[in-house]
Subunit: 146 residues, 8 copies
Amino acid sequence: MSFTVYLSGEIHTDWRDQIIQGAAARGLAVRFTSAVTDHDASDAAGDGLGAESVPFWRDHKSAKVNAIRTKTLIEQADLVVVRFGDKYKQWNAAFDAGFCAALNKPYITLHAEDIVHPLKEVDAAALAWAQTTEQVVEILAYVLRD
Amino acid sequence: MSFTVYLSGEIHTDWRDQIIQGAAARGLAVRFTSAVTDHDASDAAGDGLGAESVPFWRDHKSAKVNAIRTKTLIEQADLVVVRFGDKYKQWNAAFDAGFCAALNKPYITLHAEDIVHPLKEVDAAALAWAQTTEQVVEILAYVLRD
Amino acid sequence: MSFTVYLSGEIHTDWRDQIIQGAAARGLAVRFTSAVTDHDASDAAGDGLGAESVPFWRDHKSAKVNAIRTKTLIEQADLVVVRFGDKYKQWNAAFDAGFCAALNKPYITLHAEDIVHPLKEVDAAALAWAQTTEQVVEILAYVLRD
Amino acid sequence: MSFTVYLSGEIHTDWRDQIIQGAAARGLAVRFTSAVTDHDASDAAGDGLGAESVPFWRDHKSAKVNAIRTKTLIEQADLVVVRFGDKYKQWNAAFDAGFCAALNKPYITLHAEDIVHPLKEVDAAALAWAQTTEQVVEILAYVLRD
Amino acid sequence: MSFTVYLSGEIHTDWRDQIIQGAAARGLAVRFTSAVTDHDASDAAGDGLGAESVPFWRDHKSAKVNAIRTKTLIEQADLVVVRFGDKYKQWNAAFDAGFCAALNKPYITLHAEDIVHPLKEVDAAALAWAQTTEQVVEILAYVLRD
Amino acid sequence: MSFTVYLSGEIHTDWRDQIIQGAAARGLAVRFTSAVTDHDASDAAGDGLGAESVPFWRDHKSAKVNAIRTKTLIEQADLVVVRFGDKYKQWNAAFDAGFCAALNKPYITLHAEDIVHPLKEVDAAALAWAQTTEQVVEILAYVLRD
Amino acid sequence: MSFTVYLSGEIHTDWRDQIIQGAAARGLAVRFTSAVTDHDASDAAGDGLGAESVPFWRDHKSAKVNAIRTKTLIEQADLVVVRFGDKYKQWNAAFDAGFCAALNKPYITLHAEDIVHPLKEVDAAALAWAQTTEQVVEILAYVLRD
Amino acid sequence: MSFTVYLSGEIHTDWRDQIIQGAAARGLAVRFTSAVTDHDASDAAGDGLGAESVPFWRDHKSAKVNAIRTKTLIEQADLVVVRFGDKYKQWNAAFDAGFCAALNKPYITLHAEDIVHPLKEVDAAALAWAQTTEQVVEILAYVLRD
């Protein structure tokens, strides 16, 4: 049994690698996908379409170019993992969770206990809340059992 | 012509009232809906179903009871206005925006310019970004012209 | 604010009346719907289409005639309450819950604590688990607040 | 011609093996999937996410982790076989049937004659009612004819 | 409780009137809809758009103009009754039934016993097979019980 | 019987008025809707959200504000009439037609014979091609017959 | 480029083979699927589930077992060819056409000119009407061009 | 990572080849699809189904045969590129864009700056506006990064 898992959210820590390596170490048949996680490249995704002097429009163009990738990958995923770290606003992660909820697509959250309260709506529609990447790998190992 | 508009997000300022009164002042045929905006009541929405000693589960129950209302109202709305203020995480607002995006339901954002960058994914799928409640009323007035 | 609530499940106790009267007592704007709850009439729903000597087909015809009503009412409902009592198999109640889950339609369950374990899949996709009809009315009152 | 068949329901008898071996014996190109059928593992599916003192929440977490697998596999299946045995409540089986009905996904039931009456709603939306695993294999062989 | 019922099929007998009058006699809250049942007008529905010398195109234009009405009314209906008489090909009736089946919209058939075999696929996806208009009214009366 | 009809396309001639008056003259129960047809107001629809120095972004904002209205009205319509005149590019009209086609929503086109060839894909998915507003009224009168 | 084409309708002539061989002769990358076309086997499809004394139920069971195959194959097809011959009622063919129409799935019809009138609703929603199997192969060859 | 990209619109310049070769030069895993771009063959797509004396019907038949291919390929695509050149009406390109918008399928436009204003509705629902084929290739290279 195999699964495609989209990894959404925080791009400043190595949580994706931990999950990918953990799954590999257990021989799980998972294809992982995600947004482009190179922050500078992501912010500049739309620059090739012409320079913008207004920051809003530069962001707008880049966010839409990124959406070409993320929207498609989320729709193709069997499961989405949404990670919230301790920095930044991370509204895009919550946005992805809402997107999944409306599509009735399974997602799980990965975040520390101290942000349980502000994430309650996001967690309410999730199929699991994990606090560590090991737990995510554990869930994948269980879900993909023969 | 009439519209149903769901007001999502920030509950600590009077932006909802400003929009509702602004629309009333112009005689617009808009029915406004929203989540229960009494913060304490909202946090306690699930308490009647039995006390919980673990905070996560208390939040979980309340968030789900709130979802009975919000999910239905969002689906019934013709337009959703998603407000981001300058306090708190407001992940539920971004979650609602993602929910709308997946349903192909029109939404507009309402937030100050200094958070344009972290909201770029949310704004990218929106049909408008307003900075003031007057602008939101202006859009409604335009959209509902005879 | 008003809601349409479909009451699914057990037909041998007066739980529906308790909820309907509780909602009326609080002046809630709820329209309640349900299957035909007269057990004998329900079992005989298809008899008018011709007698059947094989029990399976008599049941089959009646179940389908009942589905004309129940399927439509469930799809029209804003919320479904699924009741499990302490008698009978009540597979139709679990069937309705699964139907709601696939449609992404909010439902809550109403059952005693001693059947929590066998109902775990049904509760997992529900937005609330109530143990008493008072709790259901309480949720409705909260959800329908102005 | 090939098919993916999800086997839902009873986990205490060897009906899945009978169907799988019957299909293999006839050389049918069927990929069978199902929930994790190890009862203890299934009940403990969420334990890795942290211990729970309240039984409801332990069940809740496990049921949701199981749903990551079952929901996806049901949606990927061409046909679902829903088995009802003579023990336990088996509401999850009826829930799966309702889920299929709402998705307009073909399913067949497998159960003894003595529970025809309580299963009438579940059977009414099914494309076949089989009493033996041999009959299920027979249907598969017919459906997959070149 | 009220229902919208679309009456599809045969236009050469008075079965529609029988059902409409039968429902009226019992005081049922049913709104009946149907295609334009004036045969000549229906065949000429597209003539106003310009004359056609090739019969296929005249039929084509009229059938499409008729579809503006029928498609919308079928989608708005809670229940569709599909009537097959003993004359003509009546492929449009079977087409409507297939349309309903794909939409998961409840429909019942109304036809004599001697055409059970050629209608088996159409009946298989129906929620009831009636042989008389009285039976249809009977079903409506049952389904619409308070 | 009543219908909601959305009038899409050309805004420089009085074709909308002709249809509306023609329908009124015949007493048809049609509610007509359309985009804001005041050209200058439409181009300036987004100006209230802040001035733009780059023409693309001014257009972008206005087009999105207009979409709040048009998308919703098209989805609410029972029928869409798409008008192509002899001036301008009118890509928005073709865009609306494609939008309807994907939603399986009935639409008819209204245009002169000399642009039949470039409109062949648009006409191919339409339920009728009318050349005059009288013909559109004629179709409406037919479709709405009692 | 490759396509999956479902061949629906008449089972008493060799039109399927003509199309399959015609496509093979031209080296087209088409996978053809269809219902079980052995008439006796098809009528007996449900017999293995237990004998029925009432003809309606025997037909009912067989039609449903056949639907397990046909529904799935139609949904998987890129194109459906619906054939109407000069014998029998062939309501199942019209039913399949209606099913495709509601799913917005492309289908073409294959029938002689003398039944153009009774098939006008079926042809109105089709993307082509062919009179010979050669024409169908021709369309496939065109559609699958590199 | 791989993508399927449908190239819609203008058929009189070599923009498709430029994109295909540009993607190949960068080793991108993209499968490109498109309508039949041989203009004469496209106009004659329906001729094999019988000659037509009325130009409208010749166009109609051909456009529908072409739709068998284009509709399916658009639905299978992960991304659609819609090209508007400086000649002809190109309503089919705008139609494809509207089709994508309703399906919530990502598309980008490719056109010169001088037609920004008439394309504002089409651009408003697009995820990017490119002015050169190099920019399109650049976007693809970014979107498909490992």
